[in-house]
């Protein structure tokens, strides 16, 4: 049974005993070539600890409207196949569907992408990577859940290592239903997402920053070996 905390509610569930961090993540003393001894703390040295900030929209509404239009017309998807729905994304690039004509492109790195498509079932193991990838994307960023798995677990309702509702872990802007949705449904979903962004409602990154404690509590409930920083910008 999947455990989670409701918004604004204290975490009543039993705290799990903390596991010791992996050996390569534990602080260690290293001797430099010139004989100096320095302490290396991988989790502090390699990652930033600052929590996410809320980024307000531009001061003038007309400017923000222009920016939102640009964001809607230039959607860059993070090419990270998280589930079986990743298969359905490929035909979108091919001549038959050709998503590029809508300004939709695939980027291979989270830094440059502004749309994260969770394509289908999300195992706990993948969730861990999905969270890190999402946090590395730049604000404003959007999440689309694809297929029934992201909505209610779908055929993995009873699974012990698959999450059931995506929006408990990441701020979802739009769900596309089906198992699996066809490429046409995906295209329709992307066009719907454009309307959401143009209306200025695509503020998932700010929602994530506002309810950061709640999202982290939920994420830590399912990810048992949490050997990563709480936020990796």
């Amino acid at each position: 049974m999947e455990a989670f905390v409701k918004p604004g509610e204290k975490n009543r569930l039993k705290e799990r005993p903390e596991r010791p961090a992996k050996e390569e993540l534990q602080p260690r003393v290293v001797t430099t070539p010139d004989g100096q001894e320095i302490t290396v703390e991988p989790l502090k040295d390699y990652y930033c600890e600052a929590p996410p900030k809320v980024h307000p929209p531009a001061y003038f509404k007309i400017v923000e409207d222009l920016f939102n239009w640009a964001r809607a017309e230039s959607i860059w998807i993070l090419g990270f196949g998280t589930g079986c729905g990743a298969i359905e994304m490929r035909p979108l690039m091919t001549p038959r569907f050709d998503a590029y004509r809508y300004g939709i492109q695939w980027r291979p790195t989270p830094r440059q992408a502004n749309l994260f498509v969770i394509s289908g079932y999300l195992s706990v193991k993948t969730l861990k990577r999905a969270i890190r990838s999402y946090e590395q994307m730049q604000n404003p960023k959007y999440v689309v859940g694809l297929g029934s798995c992201t909505i209610n677990g779908g055929m993995y309702w009873d699974s012990y290592n698959t999450i059931k509702r995506l929006d408990r872990y990441l701020p979802v802007d739009l769900y596309i239903t089906g198992c699996m949705p066809r490429p046409e449904a995906l295209l329709a979903g992307f066009l719907e997402l454009k309307k959401i962004i143009k209306a200025g409602k695509g503020e998932g990154a700010n929602r994530y920053a506002e309810n950061f404690a709640w999202y982290k509590a939920n994420q830590k409930q399912v990810i048992h070996d949490w050997d990563m920083p709480d936020y990796s910008w």
């Binding site: 930033c48 050709d98 790195t109 440059q112 730049q138 404003p140």
Partner: protein
Amino acid sequence: MTFEWMKIPFALLTLFIVVNYGLLLTALMQKIAARVGGRHGIPIYQNYIDLLKNYALRSAITHGFMFYLGPVFRLTGGVGLLLFVPIIYGSPMFSNMSFAGDLILALYFIFFGSLGMALGAGESGHPYSAIGVTRGLSQVTMAELPLALAVFAVAVQYQTLSITEIVAAQQGGFLHWTLFTNPLAVIAAMLSFLGSMMRPPFDVVLAPQEIPIGPPTEYHSAYLALMQTNRVIFPIAKIVIFMNLFFGGASNWPVFFVKVFAIYMVSVLVGVVFPRFRVEQSIRWFMVWAVPIGIAAILIV
């Protein structure tokens, strides 16, 4: 030689025209490549929207000073290259800041951006950036060699290092172009041109499938937008050099647009036809095909 202040607004106007032409031209080239694959491709104005969106992103994390300076150096390479060559032959307004020895400076500017990019991408600390930079620098260094040989051949042929004088020597009918007076140099230079245009036979630097996007892996928002701006200026600036050295230059803007389009198309045509080289293959290819032609060009001048 006195400096005329009126050159500054005209240089900025040149830059404005080239940026807009570059944004439309690169989109058109992507559209052509898409049509070859049976797709519609992006809208012709897509590059403007992508640029605006990247400048409009709200957050931008940084990895240090060189991370900031990388895209700036890259853009300096493109803009500097454009501003120090005569764009329109015979026009006092659009000859920009060209001077007597500008060919050497142009060669330097072609390489300058890659070096700045290497420093910036190196600071980002991402392993993919490091791999991309290593591949990029090896390939660019190798592709520069035939270009340098061809440029020296041309400089020896016309006995000058001034691009303006080289263009002047090619006037009076297309048979006076270096293309016909020194074809070996032009062939060597065009082979080198393929290597630096980031089109398929030589685009392993960006290799989107194996090393996601290469050097710019960590670049985003305004940094990426700066690099996108350079990506539309730099190819055109480089084509202007090629046009001036080998294809008779341009005496007005329409001729400029047509010639730039035609030279750009060479790399696009090769790109849609041929698959991708690995780095060691491309280096060998330059060594075997381009460098001997370049040496021959110098020898027969």
